[in-house]
Symmetry: C2
Subunit: 270 residues, 2 copies
């Protein structure tokens, strides 16, 4: 593989995944990954542009940012691209009235949305909310629509909490897709529109940007398909087999965000 | 379409789906579909061989047969091919120790199976048992295995109860397949091995047999791929769009089992 200097040349902007890169989530709010608080601070003091690009759909952007600030991270709401506000915009633009299968923590993002007489279903990482009864309700709403519309906030397979791996919204999206014979619209990584909106908000072109994430498919593969470079960290949901993934090869594998930032500060900025 | 006489010529054996053909299930035990009790009785008095072939995985065979007998059906345990006993045999043959994600009603079928230190996951229609916690447990068992084995009792998308459509095990199978990046082994319709075992137990060749079911894909498509003929009834989970299914065309559509039996007694037997 080429030297780091070559692989990181011309990088001007950095997109950071949050869960598994900044911190490991958990019922207690989770804990920062060692070195990540300082790494974010160093990155923000550099000439590189920084934006956070998450698929977290359990918490409102405000709640997520508050949690990270309490852990010591230098982060503000305006720096975060997250799927719930993006979905809320789409619903308004298209006049869609959703049946919401979502976590209570993110419900405030949909406060302004009409949910009467639903003509679509929106699912997010509902956690324990993915009961049989709630899934069946969403299924019946879809089956009653002439043209069923299912919007999924991300399509992750799983994520990691302090207690272990957790099924993510993608699994439940697949369940509804199969049961209804439809295909969901995904708002979140790896959707190209989602990465592009984050790049636009950062003001950097894809070829000048690098994604740092723990998900080989959603973060690394998704960013690369948009023309960005991407590093995988060996934290969060990372598994050793990811480095031999049959379809996706990261531009580099690093132990954690701290190492990624070391390399970026050394090689991207000349 | 050819006349019924031509379509039904040479039929010697009939495979009957149970739910949606004999009765509509429900929390109260369900209710017989009008005409079906008499239709089964007439079929059994004829020269045609009859066998019941179900994907029901919520109830033990004994419980299912008892429920049908109380509704007036002439049916015995030995006449029923159902996925739980078939799975139990497979587990024994292959020395598999399952983690069971199943309905309590069917647990007795696995009484003789060692479930310690599981090396596979078996899922069946668990109904309310498909909680997030139970799904996550099954997911973690699979992710901890070097070669994850997932056995699914059927892969139905949904079925119909008196209260409405209900998500079936297939949706949850897809969720685990996606989350783990694996493919499940299906025991039940439309698996060819499953139809073939039912045919063998009935003692009839595929080209001499006809399947009667309410599921255009699982019953009709599955039976046809095995070389059988198949009728779809307009009861149970039948939806008008099934008659224009893009991939599967039944050898005939009938209003209910009673009409199917009328036609069989008139045209199959000369």
């Amino acid at each position: 593989m080429a030297a780091w200097g070559e692989r990181l040349a011309g990088v001007r902007g950095v997109l950071l995944d949050i869960s598994g890169v900044l911190y490991d989530g958990g019922e207690d709010g989770g804990t920062p990954i060692p070195g990540s608080v300082e790494a974010v601070a160093r990155l923000k003091r550099s000439q590189l542009k920084v934006r956070f690009c998450t698929n977290d759909s359990q918490k409102s952007r405000r709640e997520l940012v508050g949690l990270l600030q309490r852990q010591g991270f230098d982060i503000s709401e305006g720096e975060v691209t997250s799927p719930a506000p993006a979905t809320s915009l789409i619903l308004k633009e298209r006049g869609l009235r959703p049946h919401l299968l979502i976590h209570d923590g993110v419900r405030s993002e949909f406060d302004q949305i009409d949910t009467s007489n639903p003509n679509c279903v929106v699912i997010a990482d509902a956690g324990e909310g993915f009961s049989y009864q709630n899934m069946n309700k969403a299924f019946r709403v879809l089956m009653d629509l002439e043209k069923p519309v299912l919007i999924s906030l991300g399509k992750g397979r799983y994520y990691k909490e302090t207690s272990g791996l957790m099924l993510d919204v993608g699994a439940y999206m697949k369940a509804l897709e199969y049961a209804c014979g439809i295909e969901a619209e995904v708002v979140g990584k790896p959707s190209p529109e989602y990465f592009q909106s984050a790049l636009k908000e950062m003001g950097v072109e894809a070829h000048e940007a690098i994604m740092i994430g723990d998900d080989i498919v959603g973060d690394v593969g998704g960013a690369q398909r948009c023309g960005m470079r991407a590093l995988q960290v060996r934290t969060g949901k990372f598994r050793p087999s990811d480095e031999q993934h049959p379809e996706v090869k990261a531009d580099g594998y690093v132990d954690n965000l701290a190492e990624a930032v070391d390399l970026l500060l050394q090689h991207a900025i000349k």
